[in-house]
Amino acid sequence: MMIRFKPTPRRLPLCAAAIWLAMFLLAPKARAGAVASCGGEPFAFANAEVNVVFLPYFQSGSSPRGLNGLGSQLALLMKLETLYRSISYDHWGIILLTGSKEECDPEKIARGLLMSHRIPLGGRLMIVWGKLYQQDNDVYVQTFARFYSNNLPGETAAPPQIEFQLAGKTFQGRINAQEFAFPPEQLPIAVMNAVAGNFQKAAFLYAAPRLDAGKIPLPLDRFRKCDSCPDRLAYTVEGREGDWIHVKTHDGQEGYLFAHPQNGISLNQRLPEVSFLQGAMGFLRYAVQASIQDHPEWASGITVADDALREYARREEASQEPETKAAALQLSGILEFALTPNTPSPQFDTAFQLVPYSSDSRNLAAVFRLYEEYNSPSRLRPRDLANDFVAAVSLDPRNPLALSNLQSLYELLASPEIVSRVAPEFAIKSDELQASIEKVKAIRNNLGENRGPGR
């Protein structure tokens, strides 16, 4: 392979945002990565459909070892592993932010990105962070992630992740949580040593996809110590070669990141959240208000994301955090619905069984039960359908999706063309339906929630 990159530290690419954005728009697949500082105005790729921001893992409690160094190493390896696994997707940005614990607070970073419109209206963001704590010789790690979106005017705090119409009535659902806690995992000394060893190899930009090629260090320390650093190291992702990611900087220099080091540790084997993050990123990229029929090229990315989420849900460790396992099943179910809308996944019911006290889980299961029943030749059972949504509403009386769905359901059931499809033993009388519609409207008005599709 021809070496096109000259490893001269002075040529380290620290590009201005304007140059970068132009370059990002020109890139056909528009996949990008960056390393920047938490301080000042945090960085993300404004033109990406989805941004994933990794923050350092910070020490929780006391430890004679001092774990923040390990936390920074782990964050870089997680970022690179996600880069490596996201090559099937397009129009994304993956950023590693470094800095102090105070500056790298997830909520503060999210607020900065959303308010500065670095994440534009309608844009999606996932922030990943974690903590490390020590007992005796072992260190434990726990990862967290959260979805954010810069809501369009009129959207609710957590916008719907699935929406369809039946006979002109809109039904919406969302997964049971927007924030995910992953099972705490033990990192024995051997694994920590492997993390440090892999970090030593991964913290460079190589001139060729070989460890003995020329290399320059990634400026991680510089960004970590920079309080309000306006610069960043940003690059487009050109492709994957074995365990390496081929990148190109704004001035045309090419290089390689050692993204998938597996010496002594497989991150995915040790930390099941790696699969979840891969799937969730694909979900945020492709589960948008557009039909797969209009974008057949999305199918492979959706399949990859679905497989990753299913892999996470199958892991034994996932049972420790049922809320996150339920979310994985729901995200996977929505992706499968995008590919094959005729057969809604039974995963929504499985997810509901894991977190039956969640209003959103009940609502999502109810939406797909309705969809399946409506599209099957069998008779409708209005009483059961309504009870599903009433239960979802009662578990969270401020859930705008469940309230809106309940009103839509009553209106759907009141329409003349539906009456003939109703199983008599489950029927709701016409006057009861009208009274229920008025009651739901009154409740929604009382909450100030009576807005949204067709309202």
Binding site: G61, Q142, Q178, E179, D388, S394, P397
Partner: protein
């Protein structure tokens, strides 16, 4: 003897609540306990019981980290519903280690409940002889104890007998294996407190979550029944208000609320 001990401990905690410094060896102060409307979780020490006095088994920071890790998803679930960041506080009660759950008499429970302390947690490792040890983890659910006296309501424990003196790591592993208990007791306590605060919407959700979690614990069926009945009571009350979502429930659904809301 028991009443003397209770009085002694009561005095210690009342003194603690009023900011006094006496008796700290038995009941160390928890900063942030008094005042405010935040729901508070008191995280105490896990100690070896020895003839010369108790010794900490794990660092309080590690215990706090484990407890926060187990409860974070519950807390976040609530924060997603428009609660503020300080709705729940975890209080690091370094040096604090009650002798037994029975130390908490009605006055003390009332005092703590009025300060919105909802849950207290501590552990003890007892030598049984022949190398055997018993590890007890205790929980006090103050709103449950306050609403449903007399004692021992609102008190729960998990215990395990170990063939040899466990290492700190084995203690930690036991703590992790009982992680499922914490969200169950936390949601039960928070649900009862929300009911007492007349925040019935939040009470309904918490109580049904507690019921779901407690169903898996055969030793806590009485507590499960209590939260289940309180949820139904709250649903029946809410149903009377036409502007509330609970008014959509039928009388039958409200009277067996959690069954209706959490099963299909």
């Amino acid at each position: 003897m028991r009443s003397k001990l209770a009085l002694l401990l009561c005095g210690a905690i009342v003194a603690m609540l009023s900011g006094a410094t006496s008796c700290r060896a038995q009941m160390a102060q928890c900063n942030g306990l008094t005042g405010g409307t935040s729901y508070k979780v008191l995280i105490d020490e896990i100690q070896y019981a020895t003839t010369t006095g108790n010794q900490p088994v794990l660092s309080i920071e590690l215990i706090q980290s484990s407890v926060e890790g187990a409860l974070e998803k519950v807390r976040r679930g609530i924060l997603n519903h428009n609660a503020t960041q300080d709705t729940f506080l975890y209080l690091n009660c370094k040096g604090r280690h009650p002798q037994a759950a029975s130390d908490f008499d009605n006055d003390l429970v009332r005092n703590l409940a009025e300060n919105h302390a909802i849950l207290e947690f501590w552990g003890t490792l007892f030598p049984l002889g022949g190398g055997q040890h018993k590890f007890d983890i205790h929980y006090v659910l103050f709103p449950v104890a306050f609403l449903a006296p007399p004692a021992p309501s609102g008190i729960a424990s998990t215990e395990k007998t170990m063939a040899t003196k466990p290492t700190p790591e084995e203690v930690r592993q036991f703590l992790i294996s009982t992680r499922a208990d914490l969200p169950a007791y936390f949601t039960a306590a928070a649900g009862v407190q929300a009911y007492a605060d007349h925040n019935l919407d939040q009470a309904l959700r918490f109580l049904c979550e507690a019921r779901t979690r407690l169903k898996k614990n055969p030793d806590q069926q009485e507590l499960m029944k209590f939260v289940d009945e309180l949820a139904s009571k709250a649903a029946v009350e809410q149903r009377r208000n036409d502007n509330k979502a609970a008014s959509l429930l039928t009388e039958t659904q409200a009277k067996d609320y959690c069954s209706f809301a959490t099963t299909r």
